[in-house]
């Protein structure tokens, strides 16, 4: 690994100042993604800004009106195990629980996960379905960006130079919304997903009031699938089949080591069907 300088700011503002100033600089939190890329020579930063000393950015707060606010430096493990997350957004806890293994979850942060924008990841899929936003902070200002706009493509985000992802904001969910997340791997159990399906619905006496469906890890960014046809309907096999077919149609699968594109399209349909069928039993 090439030599680099390390600075350890105490506040996010300080970190933003440094990021705005210097060329060849990268922020580092858990390091689970960045260090691999540095080792492979994909990045050769001269300066690393270690964010781990910023204690204020690893808190989880919940407000019934505003929803959930998670500091960017909160570990995936802490999100997974937060009583607030478990109570109000159990499907987010589920998605965090299936990330890699406990060693990675202990190190990796939720902010790093989103800012890295690896398409083969679990939390973004669920967070897009939850209409989450991220706070992008710079030395001058802070702006809120919808996660689905923030994730522009594989390893591509809406962050401007000098901006830092400072927090994740998840709005309160409408009463009765239940969800599920399916991670599907084609290799070892700890592998990154070949596909991830987040399905959420408000069911009233067997009738669907609202459905949200997001397919992750298949295309360069999570794909929201149109589910209007489910509104006011029972989730019978024919309807489920139509939604599954729509999901398989709208994804733009990437051929990679986790599977060929046509196979991914095939399993998206299978997994969407399974995810929706689960909704009836939640």
């Amino acid at each position: 690994m090439r030599r680099f300088e390390l600075v350890e700011p105490a506040t996010l503002h300080e970190a933003c100042d440094i990021l705005a100033d210097k060329p060849d600089v990268k922020p580092i939190a858990g390091g689970t993604a960045l260090l691999t890329l540095i080792k492979h020579g994909i990045f050769a930063p001269k300066l690393l800004v270690n964010l781990n000393k910023i204690k204020s950015a690893s808190q989880i707060n919940y407000d019934a009106g505003k929803g959930l606010r998670i500091g960017a430096l909160t570990s995936i493990y802490d999100v997974e195990n937060s009583p607030l997350v478990r109570e109000h957004y159990p499907v987010l806890a589920d998605a965090c629980h299936v990330v890699a293994n406990i060693r990675i979850r202990n190190m990796a942060t939720i902010g790093g996960n989103l800012a890295h924008a690896d398409y083969q990841s679990d939390p973004p899929t669920v967070l897009v379905a939850l209409n989450a936003s991220v706070e992008a902070m710079s030395a001058q200002s802070t702006r809120l960006i919808h996660l689905k706009d923030f994730l522009r493509g594989s390893y591509e985000t809406a962050l401007e130079p000098g901006e830092l992802l400072s927090a994740l904001v998840v709005p309160p969910t409408p009463p009765g919304l239940r969800g599920t997340y399916i991670k599907f791997t084609t290799g070892s159990s700890e592998e990154r997903p070949c596909a991830g399906i987040a399905a959420m619905a408000i069911m009233d006496d067997g009738v669907c009031k609202e459905m949200r469906l997001v397919v992750g890890a298949v295309s360069p960014r999570p794909v929201c699938v149109e589910t209007d046809i489910a509104r006011g309907e029972r989730l019978g096999p024919k309807l489920v089949e139509r939604i599954a077919a729509e999901a398989a149609r709208v994804v733009d699968p990437i051929d990679d080591l986790r599977g060929p594109a046509d196979y991914k399209r095939h399993i998206v349909a299978v997994l969407v069907r399974r995810a929706i069928n689960r909704l009836d039993h939640l």
């Binding site: 090439r2 492979h40 084609t186 599977g259």
Partner: protein
């Protein structure tokens, strides 16, 4: 006392658990420098210019070696063929081939200086596919192999010259064409296996320095100190005593550290730097340094309607990568076992080792055997299905038995394979013919069971020597060049010596290899240590024992045959008070209360095959093993989960049953990885998954919920206490057992290309009539 056969505490186990063991990357020497390699970005290129002057001037860089530093040396080396340059000379043949090596005050400085070595390449056409490489029109990797560095072991191998086929091995029995004509049915298929990684946790690592006398000292994480010593002596034109190889604990190897790989260039760098230099590869460099041969297997079997196998022809093409290394040996050991542990009257078996522009390969647990086994064991199940016979019965009907003559012409000894198969099948509740004939399920999740067996040789002829030094206080030191690679060699060898000398474990030390001190050993490979070094150690101990008994007979006024060594003392059998401690008997033997008593033995096995006929004696002992697996397959997604597995190995005698079971469990996990997940991927020769994030080994979550290790003990007349080897035995049948279980779960739909990834299962189901949707 009987240490042999009991699960004594593993020597060094506690030290490893508390992190107190120093591996090669932990070693520090005064003024030690660090090495980094400039590596080729091209799979095949002519080297037009290599200029290291700017790198040499970089602050903190002490020395750089390139092809200009090879003057006066033998620049090429290799265990079989001298085709591998110490650093690239006229061309590079794979991505990652070292072109220069830099020694600097730190790894970081060395890495920064890499870009300062000015290298000009002229790209050459390259070939990556095994079958393409074997064709006459393919770009040739070693054009000048004929003139400059031909095979050094011509008497053992058939070398091919001109193209990329490095060596060919062939053996036959009966008349295979006639056999096919006499068969009722013929099955013919092509199987393939990708290249996979060894996955040793410790990377390749070494530290080298030169003494003022001109002696080279190298501490290396290798499996083969004497082989590395021999290669270094050849390259630097030194005698054996001018090269000292020391091996500490090695953090896994699985064959990946069997041959000199990083040591030659490092030694040259240390000579130029005049300081100790350490080289520890990064993980992606390990991927560029060694891997298991990929292969294509053509198999054709003729059989009668009653299931009798009449003829089998097998042809295997092994991708050996850019340099021969162990390729010819692999092709040989993979050849004669490629029709399986079966009696088949007519067979023709041929293997080819083929150069490609991919990183070098090397032996991998079950060297060359897993390839044929994947094909013939899948084929056995397909035949059973075709003739409507229980796959277990079909195998039992043809399995070799004690005293049978193998295809090589030798008589098989210590053959417990039928027991292995029966016990493994029982362990997963095998139900016979029903396992294949259950009606195809309409369920999404289906289950199936599968069986597989294997036969493998141990390298023969070879030599292992051991020396035991008895100290005057009655403790003993076993000096051996066997490597403790995690397999428990230190423990098993101490058990053998302990029982021979009547000493408890704590009174025996087993040394680490140091070629200045420890006697010769062929290598810690081929699962040969317990059998070969165990035999050498036992005989060496017996020589000490005889000296003690002789002296004791006088002192105790008894016949030596009435004496026994027990609990650290010499006793007259049945007369408990007539005894002398070993310290006392030592004094009586040596004539002094201080000093050393020695016993040495050089154990040599006879054998070898005639390369023209493939006949002779391939192995002093054979490995027999079986695997049985039960899987669950999701017919919609193609996802497989291994629910239970049993491996059974005929170990001869389990010196340490727990360590044997751990070997079997390790083999199972490794086999499960290559059955379902693992595959090295390249894009035009560039590795694209050279890390453990993209190349995922099985995790503990993938471990079957139920795993049974079974040890069959058919004593071998030449093994210490009847023991054979165990390390590799269980691996080859794992993938075909899982493959057969999958096929049985899916009503016969079969994937013939490893790994059996979900998308291949969906494709196989589509061929069969469509996946369940």
């Amino acid at each position: 006392m009987a240490l042999v056969g009991s699960d004594v505490a593993m020597v060094g186990g506690v030290a490893k658990v508390i992190g107190a063991v120093n591996y090669t990357p932990d070693l520090l020497f005064p003024r030690m420098l660090h090495a980094k390699a400039v590596r080729s970005p091209y799979p095949h290129a002519r080297l037009l210019r290599v200029d290291a002057r700017n790198a040499e001037k970089y602050p903190g860089v002490v020395a750089v070696i390139t092809r200009d530093d090879l003057t006066g040396l033998n620049p090429y080396f290799g265990p079989i063929v001298d085709d591998q340059p110490v650093v690239a000379t006229d061309r590079v043949r794979h991505v990652g081939e070292p072109v220069a090596l830099i020694a600097a005050e730190s790894r970081e400085i060395a890495e920064e200086a890499l870009a300062l070595v000015d290298v000009e390449y002229e790209e050459l056409p390259a070939v990556f596919d095994i079958l393409e490489a074997a064709k006459p029109m393919a770009p040739v990797l070693h054009q000048d192999r004929n003139e400059t560095h031909a095979g050094v072991h011509k008497e053992e191998f058939n070398f091919h010259l001109g193209g990329n086929v490095c060596s060919v091995f062939h053996v036959e029995d009966g008349d295979v064409e006639k056999g096919f004509r006499e068969s009722d049915e013929i099955l013919e298929n092509v199987y393939s296996l990708p290249s996979v990684q060894h996955g040793h946790i410790e990377p390749h690592a070494a530290v080298a320095y030169w003494e003022p006398s001109g002696k080279l000292v190298i501490h290396s994480a290798c499996q083969n100190p004497c082989g590395v010593q021999e290669q270094l002596a050849h390259i630097f034109r030194l005698t054996e005593n001018q090269v000292r190889v020391v091996v500490p604990y090695v953090g896994g190897g699985y064959g990946g550290k069997t041959h000199a790989r990083i040591e030659p260039a490092l030694a040259l760098l240390a000579r130029k730097a005049r300081r100790p230099v350490q080289w520890v590869l990064t993980r992606d460099e390990v991927f560029l340094t060694g891997r298991r041969y990929g292969a294509v297997v053509n198999i054709k079997t003729g059989f009668k309607r009653d299931g009798s196998l009449v003829a089998r022809r097998v042809e295997i093409f092994y991708d050996i990568g850019a340099y021969a290394l162990n390729g010819p040996v692999n092709a040989k050991t993979g050849c004669y076992v490629s029709s399986g542990p079966y009696n088949i009257p007519n067979r023709s078996l041929t293997t080819y080792s083929v150069y490609t522009n991919l990183p070098p390969t090397g032996p991998f647990r079950g060297v060359g055997v897993s390839h044929g086994c994947w094909a013939y064991e899948s084929e056995m199940d397909d035949i059973a299905r075709r003739v409507g016979m229980d796959p277990l019965e079909l195998r039992l009907k043809h399995l070799v038995k004690e005293g049978d003559i193998f295809v090589t012409g030798e008589k098989l000894v210590s053959v417990g394979i039928a027991d292995c198969l029966r016990r493994a099948a029982n362990a997963i509740g095998w139900r016979g013919k029903d396992e294949q004939t259950s009606p195809p399920s309409k369920n999404k999740i289906v289950r199936g069971k599968g069986l597989a067996v294997t036969i493998k040789s141990t390298t023969t002829p070879t030599t292992s020597s051991a020396t035991i030094r008895l100290n005057s206080d009655g403790t003993a030191v076993l000096m051996t060049s066997s490597v403790e690679i995690g397999q428990g060699a230190l423990t098993a060898l101490a058990q053998i010596v302990g029982d021979e000398l009547g000493l408890p474990m704590e009174k025996i030390t087993v040394t680490f290899p140091d070629t200045d001190v420890t006697p010769y050993d062929k290598s810690t490979s081929s699962s040969r240590t317990t059998f070969h070094m165990g035999q050498a150690a036992q005989q060496a101990a017996r020589k000490i024992r005889n000296q003690l008994l002789e002296a004791g007979a006088k002192k105790l006024e008894a016949r030596s045959e009435d004496l026994e060594l027990k609990d650290g003392a010499l006793c007259v059998k049945g007369v408990p008070d007539k005894r002398m401690s070993i310290a006392e008997i030592f004094k009586a033997t040596v004539g002094s209360s201080v000093g050393s008593l020695f016993g040495s033995h050089c154990f040599h096995t006879e054998g070898g095959l005639d390369p023209r006929t493939g006949k002779g004696k391939a192995a002093v002992f054979w490995f027999f093993s079986a695997c049985a697996a039960e899987v669950e397959v999701d017919r919609e997604t193609g996802k497989v989960r291994v629910l239970r597995a049993a491996t059974a190995v005929d170990v001869g005698k389990a010196i340490h049953p727990r360590q044997c079971a751990l070997q079997n469990e390790g083999s199972l996990l490794s086999g499960l990885g290559s059955a379902l997940f693992e595959e090295l991927a390249y894009d035009n020769g560039q590795p694209i998954n050279s890390n453990f994030l993209e190349y995922m080994l099985p995790s503990l979550e993938d471990h079957p919920q139920e795993f049974t290790s079974l040890l069959v003990e058919t004593p071998h007349p030449e093994g210490p206490f009847g023991a054979k080897g165990v390390g590799e035995a269980a691996l080859p049948p794992v993938a075909p057992a899982i493959g057969n279980a999958i096929a049985n779960a899916l009503g016969g739909a079969r994937v013939r290309d490893l790994p059996v990834k979900p998308h291949k299962i969906i494709a196989a189901l589509s061929r069969q009539g469509g996946p369940l949707t």
